[in-house]
Symmetry: C2
Subunit: 197 residues, 2 copies
């Protein structure tokens, strides 16, 4: 008799156990996608600030040396180097895109299971990442050259003379690399959110 | 009586119509994902060849000028410029990754609805794209400098002397940009394949 009582008790417990578990797991899935979407929005705001800071820092990089000859004053500005000009333009485009992408990120929070905004975000984020990385890598190549020069090509470093210029440019490059890292993370989040399960 | 006959005939036709339509659409969906996966594999093979060509071209870029002084022979090699060294290493890593990713692409063809390999591919492809773009952009900044020099920083172009060197390096950069474009396309394909529908 104890066995008879036991077996129904067990199966009913199992049945009771599974039903709430499934409900809980679907609830958790929705919450998980929503959590990813909120995380996406927060990271995106951070990326906007970082990309804007990179563009603004590089865009205001110039230095005039305090001494001058009769005919010439020594001055270095970001637009002396085409790579730094490209950097400013590219980072400005990335910042603009990130601001415009905020509404889509909010839509993804409201409707965590909609794939349309996610798909749009992942594709455009990848393009923005490419642009951002190109700007950062090209600028770092030039900053390294300005810092160390290259003896083989007979290019001398200019950071001995224009120290502040180089420091500001380096800061902008670091900011753009951080923005690229955040964008890479955003793409991973979008890919996880696009998954079927 | 004609009305009685018409109505059942219509509904049965509708019922007959819907059932095969649903079956056909699920079949088309599977085929669409399989088609994307096959396209992915073909593009990936193309990217392997392009990335390898970029690495090999840059890695064999050197030029010795046919004249020399008593003490010095003029020579330019890719490893005189750290950016070009980085380019060779980065493109070799990208090629290696692309070769290793081929089995996952084949798994995605065999099981078009599995999200695991797709998710892995999209994340690692994004990392590879970042590396590839960084190498290409940094190299293009240096190639531009070698071609045109920069009067503000007093860096003179070296392509007047080392013409073949510059041409080979430019070719490698072009190949790496093509590889980056293919990788971008692969990510879009993976994102489309990851969609729920």
């Amino acid at each position: 008799m104890s066995a008879r009582v036991d077996i129904p008790a067990d199966t009913s417990a199992a049945a009771k156990g599974t039903a709430p578990l499934i409900a809980a797991s679907t609830h958790v899935k929705g919450g998980y996608k929503k959590g990813l979407a909120i995380f996406d929005l927060v990271l995106r705001l951070g990326a906007v600030v970082t990309a804007l800071a990179a563009a603004a820092t590089m865009g205001t990089t110039d230095q005039t040396l305090p001494f001058f000859t009769q005919f010439f004053q020594f001055q270095a500005s970001y637009d002396d180097l085409p790579t730094f000009q490209f950097f400013v333009i590219a980072m400005a485009i990335v910042s603009g895109y990130l601001v415009l992408s905020l509404p889509f990120s909010i839509v993804a929070i409201i409707r965590p299971h909609a794939t349309g905004p996610r798909l749009l975000l992942i594709i455009l984020d990848t393009v923005a990442l490419t642009l951002n990385t190109a700007a950062a890598a090209a600028a770092v190549a030039i900053v390294d050259l300005a810092q160390n020069g290259n003896s083989s090509a007979n290019w001398l470093g200019i950071c001995q003379q224009f120290g502040d210029f180089c420091q500001k440019a380096s800061g902008a490059v670091v900011a753009s690399f951080i923005a690229a890292g955040v964008l890479l993370f955003l793409i991973v989040i979008s890919a996880l959110a696009l998954r079927k399960r």
